[in-house]
C-alpha cells in the first residue's frame, strides 16, 4: 500500500489533483482580480477627474515591468519543457531565471512607488491612487508568492524530484503575467 496521500494519486477528472487545484485557485483569482479591475473601470468611467491623476503614472516603468514579466513567463514555460524532457537541473536554472524576473519586477516597483509617494501620491491621496496601490499591490503580493513557491520547486527540480510541480508553478506564473497584461493599460496607458 502506498504511503502517499490519496489526493496525490487519484484523478477524478483525468487531471492530476495538483494541477486541478492550481486551476481552481486561478478560478478564484479570476473573481478577485476581475472584480477589482471591473470596479476600477466603473469608477474610472464615472469620474473624468481620474485622467489627471492617471497622467502621473510612468508609462515607461510600466512597460519595462511588462517586458520583465513576459520574459519571465518565457523562462517559466521553457522550464516546463525541460521538466517534461526529464532535465531537472535545466528546469531549475530556468526557474531561477523566472525568480530573477520576479525580483526585478518587485525592485522596479519599489523604486516606482517610492518616487510616487515622495511626490505625494499616497494610497489616501485620491480614489485613483487607492485603486492603483490596491490593484498593483495585490498583484505584487502574487508575484512575491509565486517567487517563493518557485524557490522550493527549483530546489527539488535540481535534484530531478517532483518535476511535475514545474508545470504547476508555471501555470500560476502565467496567470500573474496575464493580470499584469490588463493592469498595464488600465493604470499606465489610459490617460
Amino acid at each position: 500500500m502506498s504511503s502517499r496521500p490519496i489526493a496525490t494519486t487519484r484523478s477524478a477528472t483525468e487531471i492530476p489533483t495538483g494541477k486541478l487545484a492550481v486551476w481552481w485557485l486561478l478560478g478564484s483569482e479570476i473573481v478577485i482580480f476581475g472584480g477589482l479591475l471591473a470596479s476600477y473601470i466603473m469608477y474610472r468611467l464615472a469620474h473624468d477627474a481620474w485622467h489627471a491623476q492617471a497622467a502621473a503614472t510612468n508609462t515607461w516603468i510600466g512597460a519595462f515591468n511588462t517586458l520583465v514579466l513576459l520574459t519571465s513567463s518565457l523562462t517559466a514555460v521553457l522550464a516546463h519543457q525541460a521538466a517534461e524532457e526529464g532535465n531537472g537541473p535545466k528546469a531549475a536554472k530556468l526557474l531561477w531565471a523566472t525568480i530573477g524576473g520576479a525580483a526585478t519586477f518587485l525592485i522596479v516597483k519599489a523604486f516606482e512607488w517610492t518616487m510616487e509617494i515622495r511626490h505625494g501620491y499616497t494610497i489616501t491621496a485620491d480614489t485613483f491612487w487607492s485603486f492603483y496601490y490596491t490593484a498593483a499591490g495585490l498583484h505584487a503580493a502574487h508575484v512575491l508568492a509565486g517567487a517563493v513557491v518557485m524557490v522550493f520547486v527549483a530546489r527539488s527540480a535540481a535534484r530531478n524530484q517532483e518535476l511535475h510541480r514545474v508545470e504547476l508553478a508555471g501555470i500560476y506564473w502565467h496567470f500573474v503575467d496575464i493580470v499584469w497584461i490588463f493592469l498595464f493599460p488600465l493604470l499606465y496607458i489610459a490617460k
Binding site: M42, T66, V77, H164, G170, F182
Partner: protein
C-alpha cells in the same frame, strides 16, 4: 505531466514583445479609438496568446476552460449587480432618487399622452 508538442516559445515571446511595443506607441498618437484598440484590444490578444501557448489551455481538458469561464461569468454577474450603486452615486440599496424622478417623469408623459387619446 502531459507529453505534448511544444510550440516555438521564443517566437511567441517575440510576438508578445512586439505587441507590447505597439500598445505603448499606439496611444501616443492621441486618437481615442487608436488608444482603445492598441491598449485594450492588444491586451486581450496578449492574454489569449499567453493562455493558449504558455498555459496550454488549448490542449487542456475542456473541463478547465468551462470552469474558468464560469468564474468569469459569475464575476460579471456580481459586477452587474453592484454597478448601479456605483454608476448612480445618489441613493443606495437599489433605491435611486434619480431613477424614481425619471420614472415619475415617464409616467406623467404616458398619462399626458393617454389623456389626448
Amino acid at each position: 505531466m502531459s507529453e505534448h508538442h511544444h510550440p516555438n516559445y521564443v517566437k511567441i515571446w517575440a510576438i508578445l514583445v512586439g505587441l507590447l511595443v505597439v500598445s505603448v506607441l499606439g496611444p501616443m498618437l492621441g486618437i481615442q479609438i487608436v488608444t482603445l484598440i492598441t491598449a485594450f484590444g492588444i491586451a486581450v490578444v496578449k492574454a489569449y496568446l499567453v493562455a493558449k501557448n504558455f498555459m496550454h489551455l488549448n490542449i487542456e481538458k475542456r473541463y478547465i476552460v468551462y470552469m474558468l469561464t464560469t468564474c468569469l461569468v459569475f464575476m460579471f454577474l456580481f459586477f452587474a449587480g453592484t454597478a448601479p450603486d456605483v454608476m448612480e452615486a445618489e441613493g443606495s440599496n437599489w433605491e435611486k432618487p434619480s431613477f424614481e424622478l425619471y420614472d415619475e417623469a415617464a409616467s406623467h408623459t404616458v398619462g399626458h399622452g393617454t389623456a389626448h387619446h
